[in-house]
Structure formats: C-alpha cells, structure tokens
C-alpha cells in the first residue's frame, strides 16, 4: 500500500543543476521540502522535482520572483 496522499507543491526543472540549486535555496531560507522523482502525472520525464508544503508557496514565489532560482513549472498535486 502506498502512503496516504496529501496536497503537495511540486516544482519541476529543466536540469538536475536547477534542482540542486533549488534545494540549496530552500535550505538557506528554511523552506522545508525534499527532492523526489518527477510525478508521472506531470511528465514522462525521469528527472527529479522538489516537493514542499503548499503553505510555504508565497515564501518560495517571493524568492523566485527575485530570480533566485530557475525552474520549469510549479503546481499543486495530491501525492
């Protein structure tokens, strides 16, 4: 049985380097989250994505608007 699903904010990337940069940025700003496989619902890609609590989305988006990290997409999923 898989873990119970919950609403999750997912950030996808063009490159692994972008994903690593996101992890560093979030750690620096105490935004909890983790890297995990890109959900098949989002992409048939075999890359990695960043998952975090949607409650922290405003803090993340404030950083992204300042150009602190590159990414592909942001969305909320039940994972």
């Amino acid at each position: 049985m898989l873990r119970p699903k919950r609403n999750t904010l997912v950030v996808t990337f063009h490159t692994t380097a972008e994903a690593m940069a996101m992890e560093v940025l979030c750690r620096e700003h105490a935004i909890a989250g983790r890297l995990f496989p890109v959900p098949r619902a989002l992409s048939s890609d075999c890359g990695i994505a960043w998952s975090m609590d949607p409650a922290d989305r405003p803090q993340l988006e404030a950083l992204l608007q300042k150009g602190e990290a590159a990414y592909d997409e942001i969305c909320e999923l039940l994972l």
Binding site: H14, L35, D45
Partner: protein, 378 residues
Amino acid sequence: MIYFDNAATTVQKSDAVIHAVTQAMTGIGNSGRGAYETALSASRLIYQTRLLVAQAFGVPGPERVIFTSGATQALNTAIFGVLRPGDHAIASDLDHNSVLRPLYHLQKQGVIDLDFLPADQTGRIRKEDLAAALRPNTRLVCLCHGSNLTGNVTDPAPYAELAHNNGALFLLDASQTAGLLPISMEDMGLDLLCFSGHKALMGPQGIGCLCLSRRAEVSPLLYGGTGVQTELPDQPPEYPTRLEAGTLNGPGIAGLHAALEELSRVGMQTVFDHESRLAGQFVRLASQIPGLRLYGDFDGLRTGTVSLNVRDYPSSEVADELAVTDNIAVRAGAHCVPRLHRALGTHAQGAVRLSFGWYNTMEEVETALAALRRIASC
C-alpha cells in the same frame, strides 16, 4: 624518482583528493538518475563543485560550468560547438594539438577559414598580429594562456578586447595555468575557458571543465542520456545539461572539489611562488652551463615550465639519460605543439622539458642541474 613532468600531470595528489575520490567510488550513485539518497548525494556533490569552480574562475553562474573528461574534450566541445560554415577562426603558434587538430579538421572539411598568430624565436606572440588578422566573419579567437613548452604566460585581456570589438568569441586554453594563476572570466573577458583538473589543480585525471560566458552559445558535441527531458529528441537546450550527455565522472568531480578546497587552503599564490623559485633558480644556473640552450622569454610572467636542449643531442636521448642514470622524469619530443617547435627552430631536435611543481624541492632542482652539467660536459 624525481618527477619534473608536472605540465603533463601532477603525479602526487593530496590525501584530501585521494580520500574524496575513494569516498565517491564507494558511496555515491549516478547524478540525475534517481531521487534516492545515493543518486542525490552525487548530484549535490557535483552541484557544489560547479559552485566552487564558478567562484574560483569568475564564471557567471554554476550552470555555465560544464564538466568534461579533460581539457581536450572541453576544447573540442567549444571549437566544434561555436564554429559554423563560413566562419573564420584565429589561433596561434602557441596552441596545443587539442586546439590545432579540431581547427585543422574544420578547415579541411571546408567549414572554416583559419589563420595563426606567429610566435617569435622566444615563443612570444603580438596582439598587433591579432588586430591585423581579424576579419568581419571572425567568429572565434583562441589563446593559449601558459605555453606547455616555454612556460611563457600571455596576458589574455588585450586579445579578448580585440576579439570582442570585432564581434568574435574569445577562448582561453588554461590547461597550464588553472590552479597556478588567478583567472577570472569576467575580469579577463573570456567567453570560453578550458582546463583540465589533473595538472596545476592537482586533482585526478579524467576531469576537466569548459566554462561559458553569457554570450557563448555552444552546440553539443555529444548526444545521449541526461536524466531529464527524456522525451525530447534533441539534447535539452539548457546548460549544463546541453553539453553533458552521459554519466558524469562523479569520482573525478569529487577529486576536483577536494583539490579546489586544498588549493584554497594552501593558497594559489603560495604554490605559484614556490614553483617560480624552483624554476627561477633552475634557469639562473642552467643558463650558465656551456652547451645548454634554453627556450622562451625569461623576463615576463612564467609558469614553472622550462625547456632546453643539450648541445645537438636528440632530446629523447637526454631525457632517457636523465631517467636511466639519474632517475629524473622529464618530457622529451614535441609536446603536442608542432607549430611552436617550428617557430623556435626545435622541430627536428625536439626539446627537453622540465616542469616544476608544488611537491618538488630545491634539492631536486640541484640534482637535475648536476646531471645536466655532466651530460653537457661529455
């Protein structure tokens, strides 16, 4: 053995480098090929190394640091990746075959026109010759920062300025200087910076870098798996992934990371001063030995590399005598710089190259001088 071939590779590595490589070989997975901890540890290590390289060489961002198998792959990627049919490229007599052969190949295929800046008898080139060689369609200017034959260092900034004023990209081959001299892409106006990790940086073999300015757009040399954007039929367009098909050399990158940290701890200036003292003392005393001829310009900025010949002896025989009788490792022959040998007049004889490094001592220099006195007196 006394090892004086540091221009080829630095044989002795720090314990930190050896430990880092060993740890990577026993503990990390394949970067970008999974989201489990061992794969992520590889991705994190590689990203941290991109940050270190970017900081050390004034690269505009970590994504502009491309890991390669060495300087040769970096140079090939840069040259084949920027030149297009109808372009004109300029290199010089100082350049290594890693620059010359890709350019000759493109010229032979009818893709590019090619010109070379001539070196004088001391192995120096002149920026005035670059100004005269530039054309409206010049796309790329290549410069060798430190000669692997004479040890002479050429200041890239004026050459970069001329190239940029003409709309060309500027490539610096820093194979002999990365880790020994300060290099900043931003300050020097570099578009493409190429170097290996196993020479002055004292990292492991099998790892090198191509660093890109924001202006540089480079097409891939290699195509293959990247771990991302799998459905794309082409390479992903974003750097560094565009230019990094296939599994990256995790252990090599771990070693480079440790080497950069070690160099930062010791101090690049400290290493440079040590090598300059050894090379300076060698040049002073060797130039007094009858029958020895040294090649290069000994007034300007130099690396720890010195080349010479003894009388009219073939350079291979002198190198072999030093190896067999004195247990001294030096490099004879043409050093993959055929144009510079022709400029220096040493194409037939070759030259004996001694390249001093961080782990050499003044006592070893004295031993080499004594051996050369004996050989020259015969």
